[in-house]
Symmetry: C2
Subunit: 345 residues, 2 copies
């Protein structure tokens, strides 16, 4: 019997039961042997209702929250556990903060295999350690078979930001340059292929990762105006938001936008538009024209930024998002309406 098998044997069942959510002994055993085991840190006390978090009062406290319903729960390059860390941590990173603490909610469906839950929460713990955040509070609920998609997670993140940082669409002006830190759409296509609903398989991995190294490198560039991680709705949705907030026109160049070959071919085959596909480890940044090359160079020195690129430019004019195609044509990228891939994050 492996150590994990021994540890999980205390749960007295291979599958989640309703009693694992009842506030009694079964729930306590699930929390102690699985959640607390993987998320262990000095601040996490599973016997209290609220936890004190040390906050450095000279910094600005930033908060964000995100829910996760990805299907399947495990996919090449990650699972819903690592994703639940990256998604929330990244929202803090692109706000200019350094993530510090997470809270975790798990909605578990009766019948979920406990070894699968264990793998997922182990990944969550590893991703949290890598991002240097502590899970300081948590809650689990069990819902009856048929009333949940296996497992939904929600994380809330608390980070600290230097008070001098000023980022946002209000800082953006004409001639600013748009950068992306790496290839787009990997997460969307990796999850889609993992569903096997199209009978396709590929080597493509999700880009799910924490973007702290990227965001911290960009924060050193004086001309940095705005950062965002393109998740649901993809690159196009982030750029649309910029158009709408600034009233400026955005022109992006098809030939400059990094897209991996497998993503491109799946999109061509199935008629998906890669500009709307979710990423989970990329940063879109807006930088002054003067500093754009410095920012690009800073990204390219990082492991996750090797394929960073300048992809577009802002200008006066109608607040439209225009894609200049490789053949020199123009295409309006509209605001997303129907959902290309539900339950992608």
């Amino acid at each position: 019997m492996t150590t994990a098998e021994k540890r999980l044997k205390n749960l007295q069942s291979q599958y989640i039961q309703l009693a694992h959510g009842n506030g009694g002994r079964f729930m306590r055993e699930l929390i102690d042997n699985l959640f607390a085991y993987h998320l262990n840190n000095s601040l996490l006390d599973t016997n209290t209702d609220a936890t004190a978090i040390p906050i450095d009062g000279t910094q600005e406290v930033m908060v964000t929250t995100d829910g996760f319903t990805v299907k399947p729960l495990e996919f090449p390059g990650g699972n819903i556990g690592s994703l639940a860390v990256h998604g929330t941590v990244n929202d803090l990173c692109v706000s200019g903060a350094v993530p510090q603490y997470l809270t975790l909610n798990a909605f578990i469906e009766e019948g979920l295999e406990i070894t699968q839950l264990d793998r997922i929460i182990a990944s969550l713990g590893t991703a949290a350690k890598e991002a240097n955040v502590s899970v300081v509070a948590g809650d689990t609920k069990v819902v009856a078979r048929g009333e949940g998609g296996g497992l939904y997670l929600a994380t809330t993140g608390v980070g600290l930001r230097d008070k001098s940082i000023k980022l946002g669409t209000s800082q953006i002006c004409p001639s600013d340059i748009i950068l992306v830190s790496g290839p787009i759409g990997d997460h969307g296509i990796a999850v889609m292929l993992a569903r096997e609903q199209f009978g396709m398989r590929g080597d493509l991995q999700s880009d799910s990762a924490n973007v702290l190294p990227l965001s911290q490198a960009l924060l050193k560039i004086p001309g940095l105006k705005f950062m965002r991680d393109p998740t649901r709705g993809g690159l196009a949705s982030v750029l649309h938001e910029i158009c709408q907030s600034t009233g400026l026109n955005i022109r992006v160049f098809e030939s400059q936008i990094p897209i991996r070959e497998p993503v491109r071919s799946v999109c061509e085959m199935l008629g998906y538009d890669p500009y709307y596909l979710a990423c989970e480890g990329r940063v879109v940044a807006v930088v002054s024209e003067k500093q754009a090359d410095t920012a690009l160079a800073a990204l390219q020195t990082l492991a996750d930024g090797k394929q960073a690129a300048k992809i577009g430019i802002l200008s006066e004019g109608q607040p439209h998002l225009i894609l200049e195609t490789e053949l020199g044509g123009e295409r309006f990228l509209e605001l997303l309406e129907d959902d290309p891939l539900p339950r992608i994050c």
Copy 2:
């Protein structure tokens, strides 16, 4: 057409669709016309990923989180929206903190009626205002029909606590007195009756409420050792936790524990044990023997504390929880194993 009908007309459908979760226009309309409308406050900016929260650095920052899956979504005395505020706010209150901020995650099932979602989020907004907390960040996900129980919510709360406050089971000693702020089990039975699975109906309302007035009154009592809100697992589970943490014996008196007549009769009819039923607006407190009457009087002056009572006492001995019955007998209240009422909160 009522104002609400006009506002919700912008959503273009009477029911939640998958496209309401896609990161595009439908999601934006749902957030603007429904969530932001009810949760409106100066810190909530639905266009950013992370929000700065002003924190008073002289106080301790407390964090807690809770998930909500109650079924039915609406019940006498509240709904999943008000419950999602009370549950999290109360965890902060009993830690000794004053709640300040909430984050909100909604997992919405495709097909949920939008007017029902609107009522629920309206209640959530009202409960937040009453508790004087701002919802500063949120996220919505839509899951396909059959993959969710209508609506699940998760809230994370941030509160501030005076650094001098020392509460916890480590403060508890023999001869300390256990108080409860009001009748137990109202929430559990009200939700159960609302399910109508037993063909019964009653006038009983959930006790769902924020306990800030109760907790703040108790914090003024110098002999206060410990507070907890008995939710899932009920009064017995809180007392078990005290036994286990302190190694002390607890004796509670059946004749002293306030239980409303309808709760008592439903329990007798169906064989439920009221000591394990969920409350959502009660406080269990442990106070020194000397200060117990002062604490009781302080509770009884409050609207929600009129039926407060001294219900038990701690002593040296085996860490067991013993109920002294009205007839003078003794009964061990064991740690909860099976789930009397799933999806109660």
